[in-house]
Amino acid sequence: MDAGFWTKLHGATTHFPIALTLCSGVFDVTGFALANRPIGRDLNAAGYWAMILGALGSLPAVISGLVLTKGVIIGHGVVRMHHLFAWPAFALLVTLATWRAMLGRQAARSTFIGYLAGVVIAAGLISAAGYWGGEMLIAR
């Protein structure tokens, strides 16, 4: 097997949850702002599926990262910084996706605002994890 296989696989898989979470946030916030128009419902549906797929996509990203680092959960230096953001992001993504799936596409307004706040935090965490992941490549 190519010695860099897991590095490449982790690099490939991590971009799905990052992109889908950010897209989900943009779709949902825009859909929420345009709730009275037909496009609002479409954006809401797009945000829903982006979040579900983003959370599902985070599983191969986490598994490939664990195999790549041979099971390092926190680590040191730049790896530590990456993990300090990646683990909370993973937990929050699973929470949000499960919550959203159980609520369905039509949630109460106040509940949905709480959900959106969670998505914004998840987007920040996953972006920071991605940033430190990039720094790891530079450090090497």
């Binding site: 041979k70 959960i73 680590g75 230096g77 790896v79 993973f90 937990a91 499960t98 159980m102």
Partner: protein, 134 residues
């Protein structure tokens, strides 16, 4: 017990996240254990009691610099382990340490035979040996 559909969605979501993170941490711990076993290949009994290489504070300082350049990104700046194992108190001979540096470990650690000469490998070995009591 309530059916899942009637439970509070946020509670179920948090429970799912806890299960996911715990599962991944458990998977990571298993991988770590396996990697540590593989990395600390058990030396032959006659390798445990070989004489140690003469060393000096200067050699250790030189080895520390080489360690920071070539090894710290995997073993950690304090050599207490990161992707690679903790190097404190390794119970192997100097020759064993040198051989690992020269030949590496397949799929785990690269060979440094082309990058480092004998004096550098000696300095690195002295540095790793100096971690025994720290």
């Amino acid at each position: 017990m309530k059916p899942i559909s009637r439970m509070r969605p946020l509670g179920v979501a948090l429970m799912m996240a806890a299960v996911a993170v715990t599962s991944m941490a458990g998977f990571g711990a298993a991988l770590r254990k396996r990697a540590m076993l593989g990395s600390h290949q058990q030396p032959m009994a006659d390798q445990w009691f070989e004489e140690t290489t003469p060393t000096s504070p200067q050699l250790i300082v030189s080895g520390r610099k080489l360690f920071l350049d070539s090894c710290a990104h995997c073993h950690g700046a304090d050599a207490s382990g990161d992707e690679g194992p903790d190097l404190h108190g390794v119970e192997v001979s100097d020759r064993y340490i040198s051989n690992i540096i020269i030949h590496g470990i397949p799929h785990e650690m690269p060979s440094f035979a082309k990058k480092l000469g004998h004096p550098e490998i000696g300095a690195l070995t002295a540095y790793v040996r100096s971690l025994d009591g720290s």
